[in-house]
Amino acid sequence: MIRLENVSKTYNIGTNFEKNVLKEFNLSVKKNDFVSIVGPNGSGKTTLFNIICGSIDIDNGKIFLEDKEISKIKEFKRYKYIGRVHQNPSVGTCLNMTILENLALADNKMKHYNLTWGIDRKKIDEYKEKLKMLELGLEEHLNTKVQNLSGGQQQAISLIMATMNPIDILILDEHTAALDPKTAEIIMKLTDKIIKEQKITTLMITHNLKYAINYGNRLLVMKQGQIVLDRKGKEKNNTTYEELIDKFSCI
């Protein structure tokens, strides 16, 4: 489904702040895989996601989506197939607009943005149903501007917006990091349900090792731009918390 071949990325080439993040990086993700990625701060996880989505250019290498090379394809075009929740909660929503307006905007992704009404009143109940699943009570605040919500609430809405349309790939960058433990649990279960129901190939970065172990069928540990542990299927199910902690602390 997604394949990275010998991808290299260095930030600020030719300056004193030159920083090589990925070097000859290879990764292949199969259709319907749910991959959890863990790794210390600054290990290049978000950089990897930015490369897959086209938010940043790569220096070398190739990126494939179902055998089609997409390395040169613009970011916005790749989002026809990709849904993404960013690490920073405010990136995923329009803060000046209401919850309802944000959802309506996202709902129209596969259609045209023409001169018909932005909000389809008939769909409001459908939106409320989706918000109810978050168990944050947001369904009562459809007309609240998103800027008046907490970071965690914004993050949850980003998830709904990212998965509202049929997508092939879901990219989750610490999408539960801004949430309290109980809400995080709810959102994680909801995420898993959506992924299974819609059969979406998923990449998820998390700092919660428990989630990495309990969810998904593949587990990657990244360190200094390299994959230091790659467990799939059965092997992955047998991975223990202690083992992961161990992998983190060794060089």
Partner: protein, 285 residues
């Protein structure tokens, strides 16, 4: 009384430009200096067409189309060639100065004794302007409720959302600049018809004046729920014109207007705490 009517007339004419600046500055977060040029562009096209006997109403539409093109130009310079927003606007504005002189042929032209929309009908200028401004306001309000309007609001607020909707954020920005500048050009077209002459300098400071009135309007009516932004901008412009004529009444010279505008603008910026440039800088870091 006459002064008051004059203020409202002028306020309504310039309010259309202010609505354009509201779109570029407030919705797109783009300080667009093209306005000083596209305002004159509207006037230049209108005066040369009117002299050639074209129906004044059609002149307004054609002005709008050319303003649209001016906005697209700035948009392409900014989006495709990655020139900073302020500079992109200045480049188009510069180019338009020469283009406008070419269109009219000279720096001043009188339209006295020519047909214009104000002497075509036997109705006071204020009434005609109220109708025109109302039509534009209602059309804009409706547009902002459409899918396309939502996308325009989204691109100024957070381009990432637009990108993740698989849409080209740059193109939508260009569309916004085009709509904004077509309104500015329509405003210029109406002003030259109302005052009965064209002057190459008539657009100087339009961007700053409009921005001042946008901020005045939005600040005053910020906490009143049932007044739409477009209404606030229109009233803001009339209030702004009122302040300027008050200054003239109490003894300032016409040549002081720029100083008054600059001072007023500064006061408005400081008191409204809408520190545009600071916000923009913060966002970049």
């Amino acid at each position: 009384m006459n002064i008051l009517i004059g203020v409202i007339e002028q306020g309504l004419i310039y309010a259309i430009a202010a609505l354009g600046i509201y779109i570029t500055y407030k919705i797109l977060d783009f300080p667009d200096l093209t306005a000083d040029g596209s305002f004159v562009l509207g006037a230049a096209i209108t005066s040369s067409l009117i002299i050639n006997g074209v129906n004044p109403l059609i002149c307004i539409f054609i002005s709008g189309i050319f303003g649209f093109l001016a906005g697209i130009t700035t948009g392409i310079i900014h989006v495709k060639f990655k020139v900073r927003d302020l500079l992109a606007g200045i480049i188009t504005m510069m180019a338009l100065y020469s283009i406008n002189l070419r269109i009219v042929g000279k720096a001043n032209v009188t339209l006295m004794n020519m047909n214009d929309i104000f002497n075509m009908l036997n109705v006071p200028v204020v009434m005609i302007m109220i109708v025109i401004v109302l039509i534009i306001k209602i059309l804009l309000d409706l547009y902002f409720k459409t899918k396309s309007g939502y996308l325009l609001k989204a691109v100024g607020n957070n381009p990432n959302v637009v990108i993740s909707l698989a849409r080209n954020d740059g193109n939508i920005k260009i569309l916004g600049l085009a709509i904004g500048n077509s309104l500015v050009a329509i405003s210029g077209s109406l002003l030259c018809q109302q005052q009965g002459f064209f002057e190459i300098t008539m657009g100087n400071g339009v961007m700053v004046m409009s921005l001042a009135s946008v901020i005045i309007g939005l600040t005053i009516f910020k906490n009143i729920k049932y007044i739409s932004d477009t209404t606030s901008v229109i009233i803001g412009n009339i209030l702004y014109k009122g302040c300027v004529s008050l200054a003239l009444l109490i003894g300032f010279e016409a040549s002081d207007i720029k100083l008054i505008t600059a001072t007023l603008f500064l006061v408005v910026l400081i008191t409204s705490r809408n520190k545009i440039f600071e916000i923009r800088e913060r966002r970049k870091t």
